[in-house]
Symmetry: C2
DNA sequence: CGTACATTTGACATCCTTCAAAATGAGTGG
DNA sequence: CCACTCATTTTGAAGGATGTCAAATGTACG
């Protein structure tokens, strides 16, 4: 899934371990490295003047972060769980790119994939109801945790309700209510607070407005 | 602003003229060309199953479209006004990229810029009230029409209220009401329906929650 | 077992949407 | 130049969905 060139590069770099709820970098910090998540879950987020958080993306193993063309980060990065990261200096990246054109091609591709995700989020927030957003989110998690190919019915939620709300433009209470509603309508089951079982995927897809 | 390499390439390609409210390509169409807007205003949009439109971006002169790593478009492109476009075949692009690594670097950069815009939109829709969204939108237009450097106080609106609503996740009525409210509070003036004058930029920035 | 935090639930307020109608403006023909 | 028509925008009234505030329940950890 991840471009081999970039994987090679970060694997030659340093390994970094962070605990849950640590900040890797913040908005405005100078850009130095390109990172790749090896283990754990992270978020990329932006804060408003009034202190509200908008999560732009959840990052899972194989995802890159630190991609930018600016000198400082426009997003902050925090861990949700304990994480292992691989990182390579941007300078080393540029150096490698001089005689290997596939580096920039790979960067384009990774950026493009991030853009696809961002547009998906825009669409979800802009056009869907609260239940629709949660349904879409669950289907997305199922897709990701199934390795992009075989959606899992059994999902783990490494993020809290607040994180989900900050991602989908909802309050924590609305998120909770939507979970309850989806449970009551038989779409999902909630064995524990951080685990979701997709019971009726078709109904969930209908709720998410992604039916064929 | 736009990378010279890509500008050169599209300038060597064909020129295309479209009237207002024409479709250049739709979601699912096979990707063949990379385009650059020379004149006019366009939109990139995606439709939901239920037929609702989410505009992902407004495109102005100098903007590129048709950037993708897939075989088919994930967005549709329509003109709002009469447009002149430059285009180059993706095959020609790949060919050029073989011996010119700056092509892919430029593509990364253009994709990144699009991504920045997409995240800005996510943030606007996810975290701001209706008035805040309109205020942000006007400041964005001012920025764009002032050539990214000197924001204009006199803005033209090549798009209708429906388009603005489809961009910001609002209904046409709410858009109209927000314009009225911003007018009543002295932030803006509306000489005509398709023209906005920024009277009190600071107040507008406050309304948009982008105050320093 | 008890404390602290996260989640869920409830009651109410608010903002935005929906539905409906009036006003404005652009284009056309008399 | 004016009257007419159609589309767009604006305004109004009412309803609904989500946010806010507050309390109860559940869960993890010492």
């Amino acid at each position: 899934m991840a471009p081999p060139v970039l994987l090679d590069l970060v694997q030659q770099g340093e390994t970094l371990t962070l605990n849950a709820h640590e900040t890797l970098f913040s908005e405005g910090d100078p850009v130095q490295h390109l990172y790749c998540v090896a283990e754990g879950t992270m978020v990329l987020s932006r804060y408003s003047v009034s202190g509200e958080r908008q999560i732009m993306a959840f990052l899972f193993p194989g995802d890159f972060l630190g991609i930018t063309f600016e000198k400082t980060f426009s997003l902050g990065a925090e861990t949700l769980t304990k994480c292992i990261l691989l990182r390579v200096d941007h300078a080393a990246l540029d150096e490698k790119a001089v005689d290997d054109p596939s580096v920039w091609r790979a960067m384009s591709e990774v950026t493009w994939r991030f853009l696809r995700g961002s547009m998906e989020l825009t669409f979800t927030i802009g056009r869907k109801s609260a239940v629709g957003r949660i349904a879409s989110f669950l289907l997305y998690l199922s897709f990701r945790q199934g390795g992009f190919t075989a959606p899992t019915a059994d999902i783990s939620l490494p993020m809290g309700r607040q994180d989900i709300g900050d991602f989908l433009g909802l309050t924590i209470e609305t998120v909770s209510r939507c979970f309850t509603k989806l449970k009551e309508t038989g779409c999902i089951a909630l064995p524990t607070t951080d685990r979701v079982e997709l019971v009726d995927v078709e109904a969930l897809r209908t709720a998410a407005d992604v039916v064929d």
